[in-house]
Protein backbone atom coordinates (compact mmCIF):
# COMPACT_ATOMS: atom_id res chain seq x y z
CA UNK A 1 0.00 0.00 0.00
CA UNK A 2 1.04 3.59 -0.50
CA UNK A 3 2.60 5.82 2.11
CA UNK A 4 -0.62 7.75 2.45
CA UNK A 5 -2.49 4.72 3.72
CA UNK A 6 0.34 3.81 6.06
CA UNK A 7 0.17 7.15 7.71
CA UNK A 8 -3.63 7.12 7.88
CA UNK A 9 -4.99 6.67 11.39
CA UNK A 10 -6.28 3.11 11.93
CA UNK A 11 -9.82 4.25 12.69
CA UNK A 12 -9.83 6.31 9.52
CA UNK A 13 -8.73 3.25 7.54
CA UNK A 14 -11.68 1.45 9.09
CA UNK A 15 -14.11 4.10 7.96
CA UNK A 16 -12.68 3.98 4.44
CA UNK A 17 -13.27 0.22 4.36
CA UNK A 18 -16.77 0.64 5.74
CA UNK A 19 -17.78 3.54 3.52
CA UNK A 20 -18.88 1.92 0.22
CA UNK A 21 -21.16 -0.64 1.85
CA UNK A 22 -22.55 1.87 4.31
CA UNK A 23 -23.16 4.49 1.66
CA UNK A 24 -25.07 2.25 -0.71
CA UNK A 25 -27.08 0.81 2.18
CA UNK A 26 -28.01 4.23 3.55
CA UNK A 27 -28.88 5.66 0.13
CA UNK A 28 -30.92 2.82 -1.32
CA UNK A 29 -32.33 0.98 1.70
CA UNK A 30 -32.49 3.24 4.73
CA UNK A 31 -33.40 6.43 2.92
CA UNK A 32 -36.38 4.90 1.05
CA UNK A 33 -37.64 3.56 4.37
CA UNK A 34 -37.60 7.05 5.88
CA UNK A 35 -38.89 8.59 2.68
CA UNK A 36 -41.91 6.29 2.63
CA UNK A 37 -43.02 7.75 5.96
CA UNK A 38 -42.81 11.25 4.52
CA UNK A 39 -44.59 10.16 1.36
CA UNK A 40 -47.43 8.68 3.38
CA UNK A 41 -48.34 12.19 4.58
CA UNK A 42 -48.30 13.68 1.10
CA UNK A 43 -50.24 13.53 -2.10
CA UNK A 44 -48.12 12.70 -5.13
CA UNK A 45 -48.87 11.06 -8.48
CA UNK A 46 -45.32 9.94 -9.25
CA UNK A 47 -44.90 12.37 -12.14
CA UNK A 48 -45.33 15.95 -10.99
CA UNK A 49 -42.41 17.73 -9.42
CA UNK A 50 -44.45 18.90 -6.46
CA UNK A 51 -46.01 16.83 -3.74
CA UNK A 52 -48.52 18.32 -1.33
CA UNK A 53 -48.64 17.73 2.43
CA UNK A 54 -52.04 16.28 3.32
CA UNK A 55 -51.62 15.19 6.94
CA UNK A 56 -53.27 11.89 7.77
CA UNK A 57 -55.63 11.95 4.78
CA UNK A 58 -53.94 8.96 3.13
CA UNK A 59 -54.27 6.86 6.25
CA UNK A 60 -57.88 7.88 6.66
CA UNK A 61 -58.59 7.00 3.03
CA UNK A 62 -56.83 3.65 3.29
CA UNK A 63 -58.53 2.68 6.53
CA UNK A 64 -62.03 3.91 5.79
CA UNK A 65 -62.56 4.21 2.02
CA UNK A 66 -60.30 1.62 0.45
CA UNK A 67 -62.50 -1.42 -0.22
CA UNK A 68 -59.47 -3.67 -0.79
CA UNK A 69 -57.23 -2.77 2.15
CA UNK A 70 -59.00 -4.76 4.85
CA UNK A 71 -59.29 -7.82 2.64
CA UNK A 72 -55.59 -7.57 1.80
CA UNK A 73 -54.71 -7.16 5.48
CA UNK A 74 -56.82 -10.16 6.38
CA UNK A 75 -55.25 -12.24 3.61
CA UNK A 76 -51.76 -11.23 4.70
CA UNK A 77 -52.45 -12.20 8.31
CA UNK A 78 -54.15 -15.45 7.26
CA UNK A 79 -51.23 -16.26 4.99
CA UNK A 80 -48.70 -15.42 7.70
CA UNK A 81 -50.41 -17.53 10.36
CA UNK A 82 -50.63 -20.52 8.04
CA UNK A 83 -47.17 -20.07 6.54
CA UNK A 84 -45.57 -20.04 9.97
CA UNK A 85 -47.24 -23.29 10.99
CA UNK A 86 -47.92 -25.63 8.06
CA UNK A 87 -44.71 -25.63 5.97
CA UNK A 88 -42.54 -25.52 9.07
CA UNK A 89 -44.23 -28.53 10.62
CA UNK A 90 -43.58 -30.44 7.40
CA UNK A 91 -39.97 -29.18 7.37
CA UNK A 92 -39.52 -30.22 10.96
CA UNK A 93 -40.84 -33.71 10.29
CA UNK A 94 -38.66 -34.03 7.19
CA UNK A 95 -35.58 -32.89 9.07
CA UNK A 96 -36.19 -35.36 11.89
CA UNK A 97 -36.72 -38.16 9.39
CA UNK A 98 -33.72 -37.25 7.24
CA UNK A 99 -31.57 -37.10 10.33
CA UNK A 100 -32.15 -40.84 10.84
CA UNK A 101 -30.13 -43.62 9.33
CA UNK A 102 -32.14 -44.13 6.14
CA UNK A 103 -30.74 -44.80 2.65
CA UNK A 104 -30.60 -42.07 0.05
CA UNK A 105 -30.68 -39.25 2.57
CA UNK A 106 -28.70 -36.78 0.49
CA UNK A 107 -30.75 -37.34 -2.69
CA UNK A 108 -33.96 -36.91 -0.73
CA UNK A 109 -32.61 -33.68 0.71
CA UNK A 110 -31.84 -32.42 -2.81
CA UNK A 111 -35.40 -33.17 -3.95
CA UNK A 112 -37.00 -31.23 -1.11
CA UNK A 113 -34.60 -28.32 -1.44
CA UNK A 114 -34.77 -27.96 -5.22
CA UNK A 115 -37.96 -25.83 -5.27
CA UNK A 116 -36.28 -23.32 -2.93
CA UNK A 117 -33.68 -22.31 -5.50
CA UNK A 118 -36.22 -21.82 -8.27
CA UNK A 119 -37.36 -18.28 -9.00
CA UNK A 120 -40.68 -17.60 -7.26
CA UNK A 121 -42.07 -16.33 -10.50
CA UNK A 122 -41.22 -19.68 -12.13
CA UNK A 123 -42.87 -21.51 -9.23
CA UNK A 124 -45.93 -19.36 -9.83
CA UNK A 125 -45.89 -20.19 -13.54
CA UNK A 126 -45.44 -23.92 -12.90
CA UNK A 127 -48.34 -24.04 -10.48
CA UNK A 128 -50.56 -21.86 -12.57
CA UNK A 129 -50.09 -24.38 -15.36
CA UNK A 130 -50.77 -27.31 -13.05
CA UNK A 131 -53.98 -25.57 -11.99
CA UNK A 132 -55.05 -25.03 -15.59
CA UNK A 133 -58.77 -25.90 -15.57
CA UNK A 134 -58.64 -27.89 -18.83
CA UNK A 135 -55.22 -29.45 -19.34
CA UNK A 136 -53.54 -28.88 -15.99
CA UNK A 137 -52.15 -31.67 -13.85
CA UNK A 138 -54.72 -31.54 -11.05
CA UNK A 139 -57.82 -31.69 -13.16
CA UNK A 140 -56.28 -34.32 -15.46
CA UNK A 141 -55.52 -36.48 -12.44
CA UNK A 142 -59.02 -36.04 -11.03
CA UNK A 143 -60.51 -36.98 -14.39
CA UNK A 144 -58.36 -40.07 -14.76
CA UNK A 145 -59.25 -41.17 -11.21
CA UNK A 146 -62.94 -40.81 -12.08
CA UNK A 147 -63.41 -37.87 -9.73
CA UNK A 148 -64.65 -35.39 -12.31
CA UNK A 149 -67.13 -34.01 -9.76
CA UNK A 150 -64.21 -32.65 -7.76
CA UNK A 151 -62.90 -30.57 -10.62
CA UNK A 152 -62.75 -26.91 -9.74
CA UNK A 153 -61.28 -23.75 -11.18
CA UNK A 154 -58.39 -23.65 -8.72
CA UNK A 155 -57.34 -20.06 -9.28
CA UNK A 156 -60.63 -18.72 -10.65
CA UNK A 157 -62.83 -19.57 -7.70
CA UNK A 158 -62.51 -16.87 -5.07
CA UNK A 159 -63.31 -19.28 -2.25
CA UNK A 160 -60.29 -21.49 -2.89
CA UNK A 161 -57.86 -19.33 -4.87
CA UNK A 162 -55.83 -18.29 -1.83
CA UNK A 163 -55.53 -21.92 -0.71
CA UNK A 164 -54.32 -22.87 -4.18
CA UNK A 165 -51.62 -20.19 -4.09
CA UNK A 166 -50.70 -21.24 -0.59
CA UNK A 167 -50.16 -24.84 -1.71
CA UNK A 168 -47.55 -23.60 -4.18
CA UNK A 169 -45.90 -21.65 -1.37
CA UNK A 170 -45.73 -24.79 0.78
CA UNK A 171 -44.10 -26.72 -2.05
CA UNK A 172 -41.54 -23.98 -2.50
CA UNK A 173 -40.68 -23.16 1.09
CA UNK A 174 -40.54 -26.49 2.93
CA UNK A 175 -36.94 -27.19 1.89
CA UNK A 176 -35.62 -23.93 3.30
CA UNK A 177 -36.69 -24.49 6.89
CA UNK A 178 -35.77 -28.16 6.53
CA UNK A 179 -32.12 -27.24 5.93
CA UNK A 180 -32.14 -24.95 8.97
CA UNK A 181 -33.67 -27.67 11.14
CA UNK A 182 -31.17 -30.24 9.86
CA UNK A 183 -28.35 -27.89 10.79
CA UNK A 184 -29.90 -27.41 14.21
CA UNK A 185 -30.12 -31.18 14.67
CA UNK A 186 -26.36 -31.42 14.16
CA UNK A 187 -25.96 -29.57 17.42
CA UNK A 188 -27.92 -32.21 19.36
CA UNK A 189 -25.40 -34.21 21.30
CA UNK A 190 -25.34 -37.88 20.36
CA UNK A 191 -23.76 -38.84 23.67
CA UNK A 192 -26.66 -37.20 25.46
CA UNK A 193 -29.13 -39.20 23.38
CA UNK A 194 -27.31 -42.44 24.07
CA UNK A 195 -27.07 -41.66 27.76
CA UNK A 196 -30.82 -41.00 27.82
CA UNK A 197 -31.45 -44.30 26.00
CA UNK A 198 -29.31 -46.23 28.47
CA UNK A 199 -31.26 -44.64 31.28
CA UNK A 200 -34.33 -46.21 29.70
CA UNK A 201 -35.83 -43.20 27.96
CA UNK A 202 -38.16 -44.07 25.06
CA UNK A 203 -38.28 -42.39 21.68
CA UNK A 204 -40.74 -39.75 22.80
CA UNK A 205 -38.88 -38.99 26.03
CA UNK A 206 -35.61 -38.53 24.15
CA UNK A 207 -37.29 -36.22 21.68
CA UNK A 208 -39.09 -34.25 24.35
CA UNK A 209 -36.22 -33.84 26.80
CA UNK A 210 -33.07 -33.91 24.65
CA UNK A 211 -33.77 -33.04 21.02
CA UNK A 212 -36.43 -30.38 21.44
CA UNK A 213 -34.60 -28.25 24.03
CA UNK A 214 -31.46 -28.29 21.88
CA UNK A 215 -33.49 -27.06 18.92
CA UNK A 216 -35.12 -24.11 20.66
CA UNK A 217 -32.83 -21.47 19.08
CA UNK A 218 -33.33 -22.96 15.61
CA UNK A 219 -37.08 -23.01 16.10
CA UNK A 220 -37.04 -19.35 17.09
CA UNK A 221 -35.02 -18.41 14.01
CA UNK A 222 -37.23 -20.38 11.64
CA UNK A 223 -40.32 -18.89 13.24
CA UNK A 224 -39.14 -15.31 12.82
CA UNK A 225 -37.79 -15.82 9.30
CA UNK A 226 -41.00 -17.36 8.02
CA UNK A 227 -43.01 -14.64 9.71
CA UNK A 228 -41.04 -11.93 7.90
CA UNK A 229 -41.07 -13.84 4.61
CA UNK A 230 -44.84 -14.15 4.79
CA UNK A 231 -45.42 -10.48 5.46
CA UNK A 232 -43.56 -9.60 2.27
CA UNK A 233 -45.33 -12.22 0.11
CA UNK A 234 -45.34 -10.77 -3.38
CA UNK A 235 -43.86 -12.71 -6.30
CA UNK A 236 -45.86 -15.88 -6.03
CA UNK A 237 -49.21 -14.13 -5.69
CA UNK A 238 -48.36 -11.63 -8.40
CA UNK A 239 -47.39 -14.45 -10.75
CA UNK A 240 -50.33 -16.73 -10.05
CA UNK A 241 -53.37 -14.50 -9.64
CA UNK A 242 -52.25 -10.87 -9.63
CA UNK A 243 -54.48 -10.50 -6.58
CA UNK A 244 -57.62 -11.80 -8.27
CA UNK A 245 -60.22 -13.07 -8.73
CA UNK A 246 -62.10 -10.05 -7.38
CA UNK A 247 -59.14 -9.15 -5.10
CA UNK A 248 -59.65 -12.38 -3.17
CA UNK A 249 -55.90 -13.09 -3.08
CA UNK A 250 -54.71 -9.52 -2.70
CA UNK A 251 -51.85 -8.99 -0.21
CA UNK A 252 -50.67 -5.84 1.53
CA UNK A 253 -47.21 -5.69 -0.10
CA UNK A 254 -48.77 -6.10 -3.53
CA UNK A 255 -51.58 -3.66 -2.81
CA UNK A 256 -49.03 -1.02 -1.77
CA UNK A 257 -47.26 -1.64 -5.08
CA UNK A 258 -50.51 -1.48 -7.06
CA UNK A 259 -51.65 1.76 -5.44
CA UNK A 260 -48.35 3.51 -6.12
CA UNK A 261 -46.97 2.05 -9.30
CA UNK A 262 -50.15 1.18 -11.18
CA UNK A 263 -52.83 3.54 -9.89
CA UNK A 264 -50.35 6.40 -9.45
CA UNK A 265 -51.43 7.23 -5.89
CA UNK A 266 -48.05 7.22 -4.14
CA UNK A 267 -49.48 8.71 -0.94
CA UNK A 268 -51.91 5.88 -0.32
CA UNK A 269 -49.39 3.28 -1.42
CA UNK A 270 -46.90 4.73 1.06
CA UNK A 271 -49.49 4.67 3.85
CA UNK A 272 -50.05 0.95 3.21
CA UNK A 273 -46.27 0.39 3.17
CA UNK A 274 -45.90 2.15 6.51
CA UNK A 275 -48.63 0.01 8.06
CA UNK A 276 -46.92 -3.12 6.78
CA UNK A 277 -43.52 -1.88 7.96
CA UNK A 278 -44.93 -1.30 11.43
CA UNK A 279 -46.28 -4.84 11.52
CA UNK A 280 -42.87 -6.14 10.38
CA UNK A 281 -41.03 -4.07 12.98
CA UNK A 282 -43.26 -5.50 15.68
CA UNK A 283 -41.64 -8.84 14.83
CA UNK A 284 -38.11 -7.69 14.02
CA UNK A 285 -37.40 -5.49 17.04
CA UNK A 286 -38.12 -8.08 19.75
CA UNK A 287 -36.19 -10.64 17.71
CA UNK A 288 -33.16 -8.35 17.50
CA UNK A 289 -33.25 -7.81 21.24
CA UNK A 290 -33.30 -11.57 21.75
CA UNK A 291 -30.42 -11.96 19.33
CA UNK A 292 -28.22 -9.41 21.01
CA UNK A 293 -28.92 -10.97 24.36
CA UNK A 294 -28.08 -14.51 23.17
CA UNK A 295 -25.56 -13.96 20.39
CA UNK A 296 -24.34 -17.56 20.42
CA UNK A 297 -27.89 -18.87 19.85
CA UNK A 298 -28.42 -16.73 16.80
CA UNK A 299 -25.47 -18.11 14.93
Amino acid sequence: MSKASLSMRPALQGYVLLAPALLVYLLFAVYPMIDVIRMSFASWNGLSAESRFVGIDNYRAVLTQDPVFWGALWNTLWWTALAVVIPNLISFGLALALNQNVPGRSSLRVVFYLPVIIASIAVATIWKWMYDPFFGLFNSLLTSWGLSDWIVDWLGDRKIALWSVFAAHVWQSVGFSMVLFLAGLQSVSLTLIEAARIDGAGRWAVFRHVTLPALTPTITIVFVLSLINSLKAFDIVYGMTGGGPAQSTQMLAMWAYTQSMQLGDFGRGAAISVILLLITLAVVVPYMRWMFRNPEDAR
Binding site: Q13, G14, Y25, L114, A119, G239, A256, S273, R299
Partner: protein
Protein backbone atom coordinates in the same frame (compact mmCIF):
# COMPACT_ATOMS: atom_id res chain seq x y z
CA UNK B 1 -26.30 -54.34 -0.64
CA UNK B 2 -23.34 -53.51 1.51
CA UNK B 3 -24.54 -49.93 1.69
CA UNK B 4 -28.03 -50.97 2.61
CA UNK B 5 -26.87 -53.46 5.20
CA UNK B 6 -25.99 -50.58 7.50
CA UNK B 7 -29.24 -48.71 6.90
CA UNK B 8 -32.33 -48.56 9.08
CA UNK B 9 -30.37 -49.11 12.26
CA UNK B 10 -30.73 -46.45 14.90
CA UNK B 11 -27.62 -45.00 16.56
CA UNK B 12 -25.99 -47.61 18.78
CA UNK B 13 -28.15 -50.50 17.62
CA UNK B 14 -27.54 -53.42 15.31
CA UNK B 15 -31.11 -54.37 14.58
CA UNK B 16 -33.22 -53.03 11.74
CA UNK B 17 -35.84 -50.71 13.17
CA UNK B 18 -39.25 -51.24 11.49
CA UNK B 19 -40.20 -47.70 12.44
CA UNK B 20 -37.32 -46.39 10.33
CA UNK B 21 -38.40 -48.51 7.36
CA UNK B 22 -41.91 -47.04 7.56
CA UNK B 23 -40.47 -43.56 7.91
CA UNK B 24 -38.29 -44.07 4.88
CA UNK B 25 -41.25 -45.24 2.77
CA UNK B 26 -43.15 -42.11 3.79
CA UNK B 27 -40.16 -39.97 2.81
CA UNK B 28 -39.91 -41.59 -0.60
CA UNK B 29 -43.61 -41.12 -1.31
CA UNK B 30 -43.43 -37.46 -0.30
CA UNK B 31 -40.30 -36.96 -2.42
CA UNK B 32 -42.20 -38.36 -5.41
CA UNK B 33 -44.98 -35.85 -4.79
CA UNK B 34 -42.39 -33.08 -4.54
CA UNK B 35 -40.75 -33.99 -7.82
CA UNK B 36 -44.00 -34.44 -9.76
CA UNK B 37 -44.27 -30.80 -10.91
CA UNK B 38 -40.82 -31.05 -12.50
CA UNK B 39 -41.71 -34.22 -14.38
CA UNK B 40 -44.95 -32.63 -15.52
CA UNK B 41 -43.28 -29.50 -16.93
CA UNK B 42 -40.53 -31.48 -18.67
CA UNK B 43 -43.14 -33.74 -20.29
CA UNK B 44 -45.26 -30.80 -21.40
CA UNK B 45 -42.28 -28.91 -22.75
CA UNK B 46 -41.49 -31.81 -25.06
CA UNK B 47 -45.01 -32.10 -26.46
CA UNK B 48 -46.71 -30.28 -29.30
CA UNK B 49 -49.87 -28.36 -28.43
CA UNK B 50 -51.91 -31.14 -30.02
CA UNK B 51 -50.27 -33.75 -27.85
CA UNK B 52 -50.83 -31.65 -24.71
CA UNK B 53 -54.54 -31.43 -25.38
CA UNK B 54 -55.07 -35.00 -26.54
CA UNK B 55 -52.88 -37.13 -24.28
CA UNK B 56 -52.92 -37.57 -20.54
CA UNK B 57 -50.77 -35.30 -18.42
CA UNK B 58 -48.42 -38.14 -17.57
CA UNK B 59 -48.22 -39.73 -20.99
CA UNK B 60 -44.61 -39.84 -22.05
CA UNK B 61 -43.96 -37.49 -24.95
CA UNK B 62 -43.95 -40.12 -27.70
CA UNK B 63 -42.09 -38.02 -30.20
CA UNK B 64 -40.08 -35.58 -28.08
CA UNK B 65 -40.10 -32.21 -29.76
CA UNK B 66 -37.39 -29.73 -28.91
CA UNK B 67 -38.95 -27.16 -31.21
CA UNK B 68 -40.75 -25.64 -28.23
CA UNK B 69 -37.43 -24.56 -26.79
CA UNK B 70 -36.33 -22.89 -30.00
CA UNK B 71 -39.57 -21.00 -30.52
CA UNK B 72 -39.92 -20.06 -26.84
CA UNK B 73 -36.36 -18.73 -26.91
CA UNK B 74 -37.24 -16.41 -29.78
CA UNK B 75 -40.73 -15.46 -28.71
CA UNK B 76 -39.65 -14.83 -25.11
CA UNK B 77 -36.64 -12.74 -26.13
CA UNK B 78 -34.42 -15.00 -24.10
CA UNK B 79 -31.24 -13.74 -25.71
CA UNK B 80 -32.00 -10.27 -24.31
CA UNK B 81 -33.22 -11.34 -20.88
CA UNK B 82 -30.44 -13.89 -20.38
CA UNK B 83 -27.84 -11.31 -21.40
CA UNK B 84 -29.24 -8.75 -18.93
CA UNK B 85 -29.37 -11.37 -16.21
CA UNK B 86 -25.74 -12.27 -16.78
CA UNK B 87 -24.57 -8.64 -16.76
CA UNK B 88 -26.51 -7.73 -13.61
CA UNK B 89 -25.62 -10.89 -11.70
CA UNK B 90 -21.96 -10.95 -12.69
CA UNK B 91 -21.44 -7.34 -11.62
CA UNK B 92 -23.65 -7.26 -8.55
CA UNK B 93 -22.57 -10.49 -6.87
CA UNK B 94 -18.76 -10.06 -6.74
CA UNK B 95 -18.99 -6.32 -6.12
CA UNK B 96 -21.46 -6.79 -3.28
CA UNK B 97 -19.33 -9.46 -1.67
CA UNK B 98 -16.22 -7.33 -1.91
CA UNK B 99 -17.69 -4.22 -0.28
CA UNK B 100 -19.42 -6.39 2.33
CA UNK B 101 -16.15 -8.10 3.19
CA UNK B 102 -14.42 -4.71 3.52
CA UNK B 103 -17.12 -3.43 5.83
CA UNK B 104 -17.23 -6.64 7.84
CA UNK B 105 -13.46 -6.52 8.36
CA UNK B 106 -13.64 -2.90 9.51
CA UNK B 107 -16.44 -3.67 11.96
CA UNK B 108 -14.74 -6.78 13.31
CA UNK B 109 -11.08 -5.82 13.46
CA UNK B 110 -10.63 -2.06 13.41
CA UNK B 111 -11.29 -0.29 16.72
CA UNK B 112 -13.83 2.38 15.78
CA UNK B 113 -16.41 4.37 17.62
CA UNK B 114 -20.00 3.40 16.77
CA UNK B 115 -19.07 0.00 15.36
CA UNK B 116 -21.77 -1.54 17.59
CA UNK B 117 -24.30 0.89 16.14
CA UNK B 118 -23.28 0.04 12.59
CA UNK B 119 -23.55 -3.65 13.33
CA UNK B 120 -27.03 -3.23 14.80
CA UNK B 121 -28.05 -1.20 11.74
CA UNK B 122 -26.75 -4.03 9.63
CA UNK B 123 -28.66 -6.77 11.48
CA UNK B 124 -31.76 -4.62 11.15
CA UNK B 125 -31.15 -4.43 7.40
CA UNK B 126 -31.06 -8.22 7.08
CA UNK B 127 -34.70 -8.25 8.06
CA UNK B 128 -35.89 -5.23 6.15
CA UNK B 129 -38.20 -6.48 3.39
CA UNK B 130 -37.84 -4.38 0.24
CA UNK B 131 -41.04 -5.83 -1.22
CA UNK B 132 -42.81 -3.65 1.30
CA UNK B 133 -41.41 -0.39 -0.08
CA UNK B 134 -41.02 -0.77 -3.80
CA UNK B 135 -42.44 2.66 -4.57
CA UNK B 136 -39.96 4.69 -2.48
CA UNK B 137 -37.11 2.64 -3.95
CA UNK B 138 -38.42 3.45 -7.41
CA UNK B 139 -38.57 7.12 -6.41
CA UNK B 140 -35.00 7.12 -5.14
CA UNK B 141 -33.60 5.37 -8.23
CA UNK B 142 -35.60 7.77 -10.37
CA UNK B 143 -34.11 10.74 -8.52
CA UNK B 144 -30.69 9.54 -9.71
CA UNK B 145 -32.06 9.19 -13.24
CA UNK B 146 -31.27 5.47 -13.26
CA UNK B 147 -34.61 3.84 -14.14
CA UNK B 148 -34.09 1.22 -16.88
CA UNK B 149 -30.33 1.10 -16.39
CA UNK B 150 -27.97 -1.55 -15.02
CA UNK B 151 -26.70 0.68 -12.16
CA UNK B 152 -30.33 1.48 -11.34
CA UNK B 153 -31.05 -2.14 -10.45
CA UNK B 154 -27.58 -3.04 -9.14
CA UNK B 155 -27.45 -0.28 -6.52
CA UNK B 156 -30.66 -1.28 -4.67
CA UNK B 157 -29.67 -4.95 -5.01
CA UNK B 158 -26.39 -4.07 -3.30
CA UNK B 159 -28.17 -2.07 -0.62
CA UNK B 160 -30.41 -4.98 0.34
CA UNK B 161 -27.71 -7.64 -0.08
CA UNK B 162 -24.96 -5.99 1.93
CA UNK B 163 -26.47 -6.36 5.43
CA UNK B 164 -26.74 -10.15 5.38
CA UNK B 165 -23.28 -10.61 3.94
CA UNK B 166 -21.70 -8.16 6.37
CA UNK B 167 -23.46 -9.94 9.21
CA UNK B 168 -22.16 -13.37 8.19
CA UNK B 169 -18.64 -12.20 7.38
CA UNK B 170 -18.44 -10.15 10.55
CA UNK B 171 -19.16 -13.29 12.55
CA UNK B 172 -16.44 -15.10 10.63
CA UNK B 173 -13.80 -12.36 10.89
CA UNK B 174 -14.48 -11.80 14.57
CA UNK B 175 -13.57 -15.45 15.16
CA UNK B 176 -10.18 -15.14 13.42
CA UNK B 177 -7.52 -15.06 16.15
CA UNK B 178 -6.14 -11.63 17.00
CA UNK B 179 -2.52 -12.78 16.69
CA UNK B 180 -2.91 -13.15 12.95
CA UNK B 181 -3.63 -9.49 12.34
CA UNK B 182 -1.68 -8.02 15.22
CA UNK B 183 1.63 -9.46 14.10
CA UNK B 184 1.10 -7.81 10.74
CA UNK B 185 0.08 -4.52 12.39
CA UNK B 186 3.32 -4.47 14.36
CA UNK B 187 5.23 -5.03 11.13
CA UNK B 188 3.66 -1.82 9.92
CA UNK B 189 1.02 -3.17 7.56
CA UNK B 190 -2.06 -1.06 7.04
CA UNK B 191 -5.56 -2.42 7.54
CA UNK B 192 -5.99 -2.39 3.77
CA UNK B 193 -3.04 -4.74 3.36
CA UNK B 194 -4.12 -7.02 6.19
CA UNK B 195 -7.62 -7.23 4.75
CA UNK B 196 -6.37 -8.04 1.26
CA UNK B 197 -3.47 -10.33 2.15
CA UNK B 198 -4.77 -12.18 5.20
CA UNK B 199 -8.50 -11.89 5.69
CA UNK B 200 -9.74 -12.20 2.13
CA UNK B 201 -7.78 -15.44 1.55
CA UNK B 202 -8.83 -17.09 4.82
CA UNK B 203 -12.49 -16.28 4.21
CA UNK B 204 -12.61 -17.92 0.77
CA UNK B 205 -14.86 -20.82 1.89
CA UNK B 206 -17.42 -18.44 3.40
CA UNK B 207 -17.15 -16.11 0.42
CA UNK B 208 -17.83 -18.97 -1.99
CA UNK B 209 -20.89 -20.03 -0.03
CA UNK B 210 -22.24 -16.49 -0.04
CA UNK B 211 -21.36 -16.13 -3.71
CA UNK B 212 -23.42 -19.14 -4.76
CA UNK B 213 -26.35 -18.16 -2.57
CA UNK B 214 -26.33 -14.61 -3.84
CA UNK B 215 -25.98 -15.70 -7.44
CA UNK B 216 -29.21 -17.65 -7.27
CA UNK B 217 -31.04 -14.92 -5.33
CA UNK B 218 -30.00 -12.21 -7.78
CA UNK B 219 -30.71 -14.34 -10.83
CA UNK B 220 -34.23 -15.07 -9.54
CA UNK B 221 -35.18 -11.66 -8.18
CA UNK B 222 -38.47 -10.35 -9.49
CA UNK B 223 -40.23 -7.58 -7.51
CA UNK B 224 -37.44 -4.99 -7.56
CA UNK B 225 -36.73 -5.65 -11.25
CA UNK B 226 -40.43 -5.23 -11.99
CA UNK B 227 -40.36 -1.70 -10.61
CA UNK B 228 -36.99 -0.53 -11.93
CA UNK B 229 -36.64 -2.29 -15.29
CA UNK B 230 -39.74 -1.28 -17.20
CA UNK B 231 -38.26 -1.29 -20.69
CA UNK B 232 -38.49 -4.80 -22.23
CA UNK B 233 -34.94 -4.34 -23.54
CA UNK B 234 -33.74 -4.23 -19.94
CA UNK B 235 -35.77 -7.17 -18.61
CA UNK B 236 -34.23 -10.06 -16.72
CA UNK B 237 -35.32 -13.70 -17.04
CA UNK B 238 -38.05 -13.63 -14.36
CA UNK B 239 -39.63 -10.54 -15.96
CA UNK B 240 -39.44 -12.20 -19.35
CA UNK B 241 -41.11 -15.33 -18.00
CA UNK B 242 -43.87 -13.31 -16.36
CA UNK B 243 -44.56 -11.59 -19.65
CA UNK B 244 -44.45 -14.87 -21.55
CA UNK B 245 -46.89 -16.35 -19.08
CA UNK B 246 -49.43 -13.59 -19.51
CA UNK B 247 -49.12 -13.39 -23.29
CA UNK B 248 -48.80 -16.98 -24.44
CA UNK B 249 -50.34 -18.92 -21.61
CA UNK B 250 -52.33 -21.20 -23.84
CA UNK B 251 -49.24 -22.19 -25.80
CA UNK B 252 -48.52 -24.91 -23.26
CA UNK B 253 -45.47 -26.56 -24.78
CA UNK B 254 -43.61 -23.31 -25.29
CA UNK B 255 -44.63 -21.96 -21.89
CA UNK B 256 -43.13 -24.98 -20.18
CA UNK B 257 -40.00 -24.78 -22.30
CA UNK B 258 -39.70 -21.15 -21.17
CA UNK B 259 -40.04 -22.20 -17.53
CA UNK B 260 -37.28 -24.78 -17.93
CA UNK B 261 -34.92 -22.34 -19.62
CA UNK B 262 -35.53 -19.77 -16.87
CA UNK B 263 -34.98 -22.22 -14.06
CA UNK B 264 -32.13 -24.31 -15.45
CA UNK B 265 -29.10 -22.08 -14.70
CA UNK B 266 -29.97 -21.76 -11.01
CA UNK B 267 -30.78 -25.47 -10.78
CA UNK B 268 -27.44 -26.44 -12.34
CA UNK B 269 -25.53 -24.11 -10.04
CA UNK B 270 -27.36 -25.61 -7.08
CA UNK B 271 -26.72 -29.20 -8.08
CA UNK B 272 -23.04 -28.46 -8.66
CA UNK B 273 -22.44 -26.52 -5.46
CA UNK B 274 -24.93 -28.07 -3.05
CA UNK B 275 -22.67 -28.13 -0.04
CA UNK B 276 -21.99 -24.41 -0.34
CA UNK B 277 -25.72 -23.74 -0.09
CA UNK B 278 -26.02 -25.51 3.20
CA UNK B 279 -22.90 -23.77 4.51
CA UNK B 280 -24.08 -20.35 3.33
CA UNK B 281 -27.51 -20.76 4.84
CA UNK B 282 -26.56 -22.22 8.14
CA UNK B 283 -23.62 -20.04 9.12
CA UNK B 284 -26.03 -17.20 9.64
CA UNK B 285 -29.52 -18.50 9.10
CA UNK B 286 -31.00 -15.20 8.08
CA UNK B 287 -32.53 -14.17 4.75
CA UNK B 288 -34.43 -16.34 2.32
Amino acid sequence: MSLLSQAFRPVGSNRVDPMLVALWLALVVLALVWITPFIFIVFTALKSSDAVMNTSAFALPTEPDFGNFVSAWQRGNFSTTAFNGVIITFIKVPLGLFISAMAAYALAKVPMRFSKVFLALCVFGTMLPFQVMLAPIFKQVNAFGLINTYPGIILPYLAFGVPYQVFILHGFFAAVPKELSEAARIDGASHFTIFRRIFLPVSLPVLSALLILDFVATWNEFAMALVILQDPKMWTLPLGLMNFQSQFQSNYGELNAAIIMTVLPAAIVYLMFQRYFVAGLTTGAVKE
